[in-house]
Symmetry: C2
């Protein structure tokens, strides 16, 4: 049987650019996983890991003139956005390198013996160790930051886990170019190529999550694809952790006072956030609760005016374009749904941005479920504006929402100290992993305090895929009991020769 | 339809003692979960939570004279062991109370704005919040420490999560008496009974893990039961975290030098550990690699002599007795398996302790899988002694083992500084969550550095069910972005009014 080609396609024309790779067979997936498994030992040394991550960042930066045009040709995301994304990707790799050197992620806890306890406490020394080979499923919408050298890969390598990345079919050539950079960086530190492998193809993705030597998986993508892989991970003879980011509506609640005070600003801000990256951000505000009446009308007017200048945009691939056009059409046909700006096809390769509006009562009607479609993410440049009569009705809509990555509250300056706003914030918190006030969810900062995750289907676990705590997904604790000093890993020796932060008998060191 | 009675049974006689409860119907499971869900707000205040946990410990201590005889009548574990277990249970509740007051489990991280980053970093403040209602599945073998008021319950309440406990059918009356104590403790602090509910029955257990308002589950029990519940948790429309402790062989490797130096001590220690609690500990050493030849013979002789004085013991229930008798018989019939001490039936209600031995070659034979049965846990007072010819053969057996809670190495005093022992420790580490040297795994200390978990099937997640980090199973992070000071939870306010430990811009406070 001959190899199945993987084509790089230009979404601006729908035409095949070049053959970028071939689909991985079961045998080649197996070979990649075995090579990764064999490379685990090479990642044991933290100093080597951090140096490798820094070199990878340097070489990605140096390859910018090759990588950005390539990614633009495959994704149509534009050079400005892609340059920013590559900068973010390199920054992320360097942040993880710093955290590897610091070592707090090892979560070292030492308990000295206590014979008076029931049962007696022996000498116990705990640290976290890498889980093993991590399968990484790249996202379509971030060809750098959530792809071959993105957050999942960076955090897994930081944790000491080799990765086998399943390339996203929307940017196979960019993926190949990126893994080549990772291999050059690995070679500079004497690391085998197996520390970061790349495979292509849908079947390869399934084979990967089922491989006995794969110890965990990270995924960014759709609810449908992510759930299928989550189910496969859970159904294995030996289930593995599956950290998937699947889908999110990212609700926004605008109070009446906020709409009165800042209708124009909020409308324009929403327009900017929902169209960023042609609406293809996982944190795109997809459902916005706006008061009925004049203040809300003003906000809607500002939104529609801001969108008037937005040219049709090219989505990441034509399947997404088809889904977007069909999805917005199906939603627009629902009773009481209006389209002050009509989303749909642009030219033969692009889509037009749009806004759907409806009264909140349609979403709170216990007898009607047709409008529940509006509570599902629609990937692309569209948002749903829900007009509510009063706070009780707005809260009733919130009660119907699934889990989200983000939830946003827009309040007036007076409300910044009000109990009612505090109450609304408390209502939003159970819905999401990140809660914002008077801001927009797009632009997920790489920072220690970041949390990019949320109740299902936002993520399939309680972990984050952005921020330094992302590394904890690929680690498990081991406690050494009664172990002679000379046999202990140096991280756990009594005199702390590596100067690591740790908690000893409840007291924090370093 | 009339209620299905739940009987308390005396395992020493097989007779029904009394009706302890009735099985929960779907409606009563639903009512318990809804009451727990409604009680979430009552657990928001950390000071109330820690006071409640301490009162629960005090009242359990005070009810000792009622609880211990009751548990003994249902489990036959004996007053001495049960008194120790109750002490441990109260200690555990108090440790979690202390950790609630300290607040490190909130994992607070604050990142101040940084406009120079790509993308810019806004004000981000992260803490962990409770997941919601936790389903707790009690274990048979620890009627206090891994049951109604055990580690899962204590850690969930510490995290701020109400619990609905599925009682183990082996001690329903003890479970009822324990939950009554928890309700008295709750009442003292004005908390509703819904913070800790109890349900009985197999069907109730399944209904519980499937209930939409249940947010996570903790389980201690068999591979079969735990896997069925894990699968149900993963198959939900909204999957939930399932932290199950399922089964473990707890391998022990005795080096030739150790057997030469301490044959008698190791044999006697093994006898004590494998018979503790009539072999019904999840960390019972169930597979022991002992060198072939004279030194190993001496160890085996010490083991068999130590077991000569062990009287038949009563297992937790008659189904377990049947399974033990059938399980050891099936294993003893395998080719080359010998029984220097024959396990099997004692009197009509008890079982006799035993030892199975076989040459390691039977477990490394690529053509024979019949002996793989010996690589599965056999619950009760039996251990498998595997005689190996050389270290390579011992390591080949280790390579065949599933995941474990513990792995133990016995070495000589000279080996405590040897490279070969360090190599063996590195071979054992991937197999388990706790690695011991010259000690026995039974007696799981409650300590900050403890880790009670391990690769599947030891546990279904990378978390622990013992030790203070157990609370992290019931929490998820939330990051607040750009939130006015007055609207922030007090834990996240700039001046740290609650004096909590936190990391601010990479610097540790408190």
């Amino acid at each position: 049987m001959s190899a199945i080609p993987v084509w790089s396609v230009d979404p601006r024309t729908g035409e095949q650019r070049e053959q970028a790779a071939v689909e991985a067979t079961d045998a080649s997936v197996d070979a990649a996983v075995r090579a990764a498994h064999a490379a685990r030992g090479a990642l044991t040394d933290r100093a080597v890991r951090s140096a490798f991550l820094r070199t990878a960042a340097d070489l990605l930066d140096a390859a910018r003139d090759e990588l950005v045009p390539l990614a633009d040709a495959e994704t149509a995301l534009g050079a400005a956005r892609l340059n920013g994304e590559l900068t973010r990707t390199c920054y992320q790799l360097r942040c993880f390198a710093d955290s590897v050197d610091e070592g707090a992620f090892l979560d070292i806890i030492i308990s000295h013996p206590d014979a008076t306890a029931t049962p007696p406490v022996p000498d116990l020394r705990r640290l976290k160790v890498p889980l093993g080979v991590v399968a990484v499923y790249s996202a379509s919408n971030f060809p750098f930051a959530f792809s071959v050298a993105g957050g999942d890969t960076a955090s897994a390598l930081a944790a000491g886990c080799p990765v086998v990345v399943k390339a996203h079919p929307d940017h196979p050539a960019t993926s190949e170019a990126t893994v080549a950079v990772l291999h050059r960086a690995a070679a500079q530190h004497g690391l085998p190529e197996g520390v970061a492998a790349l495979v292509h193809g849908f079947d390869a993705g399934l084979a990967l999550v089922r491989h006995p030597l794969v110890a965990a998986a990270g995924f960014t993508g759709s609810v449908r694809g992510g759930r299928a892989l989550f189910d496969a991970a859970a159904a294995r003879p030996t289930p593995i952790p599956f950290h998937g980011e699947l889908g999110s509506l990212n609700p926004v609640l605008v109070t009446g006072a906020a709409a009165t005070e800042r209708a124009e600003e909020i409308g324009a801000g929403l327009a900017g956030s929902m169209t960023m990256g042609v609406g293809q951000f996982c944190v795109k505000p997809g459902l916005v609760l706006v008061p009925a009446g004049a203040s809300g009308d003003g906000l809607l007017k500002s939104l529609t005016q801001s969108l008037a200048d937005v040219a049709p945009g090219v989505l990441l691939d034509h399947r997404m374009r088809d889904n977007f056009i069909a999805g917005v059409a199906e939603r627009a046909e629902l009773p009481d749904v209006e389209t002050p700006v009509t989303p749909g096809p642009g030219d033969a390769h692009s889509v037009a941005t749009g806004v759907l509006t409806l009264p909140a009562s349609r979403l709170t009607d216990p007898d009607g479920t047709a409008h529940d479609l509006l509570l599902e993410e629609c990937f692309g440049p569209v948002t749903v504006v829900v007009r509510y009569e009063d706070v009780t009705e707005a809260e009733a809509v919130l009660d119907r929402l699934p889990g989200n990555l983000t939830a946003t509250l827009h309040i007036s300056s007076e409300e910044a100290e009000s109990g009612s706003a505090a109450g609304l914030l408390a209502r939003l918190t159970p819905l999401a992993g990140r809660v914002l006030v008077n801001a927009w969810p797009t632009g997920v900062a790489v920072a220690p305090a970041q949390h990019h995750g949320g109740p299902y289907p936002a993520t399939t676990s309680t972990s984050t895929s952005v921020g330094l705590t992302a590394a904890e997904r690929w680690l498990r604790p081991v406690a050494y009991q009664n172990t002679p000093e000379a046999l202990l890993p140096p991280e756990l020796r009594e005199d702390n020769p590596l100067g690591l932060p740790r908690v000893v008998d409840g007291r924090r060191e370093g």
